[in-house]
Amino acid sequence: MSVQPEVIEEAPTRGQRLWQSGPAAWNEALTRPVVLIPFFLLAAAMPLLLQYLEDNSSWIGAQFWTTILANCAMYACLAISLNLVVGYAGLLNLGFIAFFGIGSYTYALVASDQLHQHYPFWAALLVVVLVTVAFALLVGLPALRLRGDYLAIVTLGFGLIMRDLILDLDRPPTLAGHQFGPNDLNLTGGTNGIHQVDPFKLPASLPLLGSVPHFLMYYWIFLGFLALSLFCMLRWRKTRTGRAWVAIREDELAARAMGVNTFKYRLLAFTVSAAMAGIVGMIDAAFIFNAFPGNFDVQQTVTVFIMVILGGLGSLPGAILGAVAFTVPPFLLQQFVFVKYLIISVVLIAVMVFRPEGLLGTVSIRPRRTMGGTVELFAEDAAEAAAPSVDGKVADLEAAAGAIVPTADPPPTT
């Protein structure tokens, strides 16, 4: 039997590839060192430029704008860690901001007069990481075994409970008439939060750092942490761990069949993301000198979500872009603050309906014919069980015999 070879698919040209893979290629281009290194250098030098402008003209606002930049960098850090859990691993963590809060409060407790503790930086960092990881495991161990939407509701509930705990723990907790701790126990300061939190104790002897103003110092710290997180994310995405995450997100069943311990990798993504949010919370507490319950409202989670979603789930440059887009306006327009959540929610819905993959996203989120995940497996079994025994074999034989067999379309009804 002579066989004619199938026409081999031609490799697309570079241009076709860019067009075809769209956002993925843009992400690739924007995360090359040749783009990122100048970006970070420029970002780091920005305040100095602003200062130079202020010194040499009538314009004032270097500190104001540097503070905005610091906030942008902070939200970019948060967006990137949320992207790890939602964009890479496909887990809807709606209690995300609680981990930011846990980091803030943990640092505030070990570095303020609240409990009369003043840990050095590295000890505080260690405690913050341990505590956030412990909370992440507490939620993740039971919840990550469940289906996706249950994880969403469990984390949402967790976020709410944490907020309540923070508000209620300004007095010793009482369970069944038994009071835990002394009468004057005040862990969180209730609605007032914890004030006069220590800034980081960095060696003042370092030639440059000693004289740097507070806001500029923290801008650099945030920027440094952003660069570090970005580096880690890029490395992870390019190696075994990241491939496993994306595989789980794209098709959990196939990932399991390829030997990926899906529970372990989900837990890993969930926990690492939480720990990163905790560290950002710690830096924030030191930056603004306090830990305040209003910063960890549930709406804050949605704020970080819109940053990730506008930029596109799974896209790191997208997350940074989204962070800037939603951090700057409230600083410039007081009116915007009032309707902030109104605008955020409208944009969120609009993006999801009209461009669910975001500006640069790489997650297949578009409507498609088949359902994903486990459901499909059962649908498949059910279909196999339910299908009448008109068999593919007959159709195949006929096809081989040259008959034209209508397989896709049902015969027209007249």
């Binding site: 469990v154 979500f305 959540y341 819905i349 999801m352 989120i365 578009r366 994903g372």
Partner: protein, 308 residues
């Protein structure tokens, strides 16, 4: 122990009262989840809007603490507005925000639903009031307190319980006894197959959203009557708890949602009364986690194979 015996009946009644509210909202979650396999985060906020619609009626029809129409008529007008308004709102939400994403990745409609939830909250907060709004129930509902031994509850509390149970029974009859109800159940089982069988799936989904949302709206009204105040944030925690109730009862299972709601209400009230009021919400959350770990298909749900 004596303390327990003395207070138990009162806590039980309180629990049944809040529990019937949870059950009413839980029905909506379970209906929508049953048909679309989608967690409608905005459902709790639809409940909140229902409360505000009812409060809006009183703002128009109560002048200087006196209602311009008789109490019964007043409540009926409030019902019409609260249920009709939220029903239409639910249909609108489905049309605009969920339908375009019906076949998308599971994550997509969930994220949209959070957006809708935040949108409803912000609209009410910005347009109406960020502070709690009082509902002048004393202008048209007798403020009688019913007593039975040591147990007491206001008339509105009994109303809340009775109306909720009535609506649930009605819904049960509708879903299991009518033609449209069987179309709903068919759609819930297999949307595609139902479509092939000539069922107008879009219409079924629309009606489901209307019913679910109207029930939530009614819940909002009853909440307003019972507690005489509504606020833009009230749907949030209540929504999560109602969802918990739906999960406890087995998501997608109507009777389960009703029982789950009552059960959660009683559990929470007892835990709050005898263990710690501050951590009452945490107990509800704990109940959710425990149920999800031990019996993820819910107490009354059928196991659906090894869907781990």
């Amino acid at each position: 122990m004596e303390y327990f015996l003395q207070n138990f009946p009162q806590q039980l009644v309180n629990g049944l009262e809040t529990g019937s509210l949870y059950a009413l909202i839980a029905l909506g979650y379970t209906l929508i989840y049953g048909i679309l396999e989608m967690l409608n985060f905005a459902h709790g906020d639809v409940f909140m809007v229902g409360g505000f619609l009812a409060a809006g009626v009183t703002a128009v029809l109560v002048h200087g603490g006196v209602a311009v129409i008789p109490g019964v008529l007043m409540v009926l007008v409030m019902m019409a507005f609260a249920m009709g308004g939220t029903g239409l709102l639910g249909v609108g939400i489905e049309r605009v925000a969920y339908r375009p994403l019906r076949n998308a990745n599971r994550l997509a409609p969930l994220i949209t639903a959070i957006g809708v939830s935040l949108l409803l909250e912000s609209v009410v907060q910005v347009v109406i009031s960020p502070a709690p709004v009082l509902v002048p129930t004393n202008a048209f509902v007798p403020q009688t307190v019913l007593r039975l031994g040591s147990v007491e509850t206001p008339l509105t509390g009994v109303l809340l319980f009775v109306v909720s149970i009535g609506l649930m029974v009605g819904l049960d009859l509708f879903v299991f006894r009518t033609r449209f109800g069987s179309a709903m159940r068919a759609t819930a089982q297999d949307r595609e197959a139902a479509g092939f069988m000539g069922i107008d799936v879009d219409r079924v989904i629309m009606v489901t959203f209307f019913i679910a949302s109207a029930l939530a709206g009614m819940g909002g009204l009853l909440f307003g009557l019972r507690y005489a105040t509504v606020n833009f944030f009230m749907g949030y925690l209540l929504g999560i708890k109602a969802f918990t109730a739906a999960v406890i009862g087995g998501i997608g299972n109507l009777r389960g949602a009703m029982l789950g709601g009552l059960l959660l209400g009683v559990f929470e009230s007892l835990a709050g009364g005898f263990i710690s009021t501050e951590f009452q919400d945490a107990f509800a959350f704990l109940a959710l986690i425990i149920v999800l770990i031990i019996r993820p298909q819910g107490l009354f749900g059928q196991p659906i194979g090894d869907r781990a």
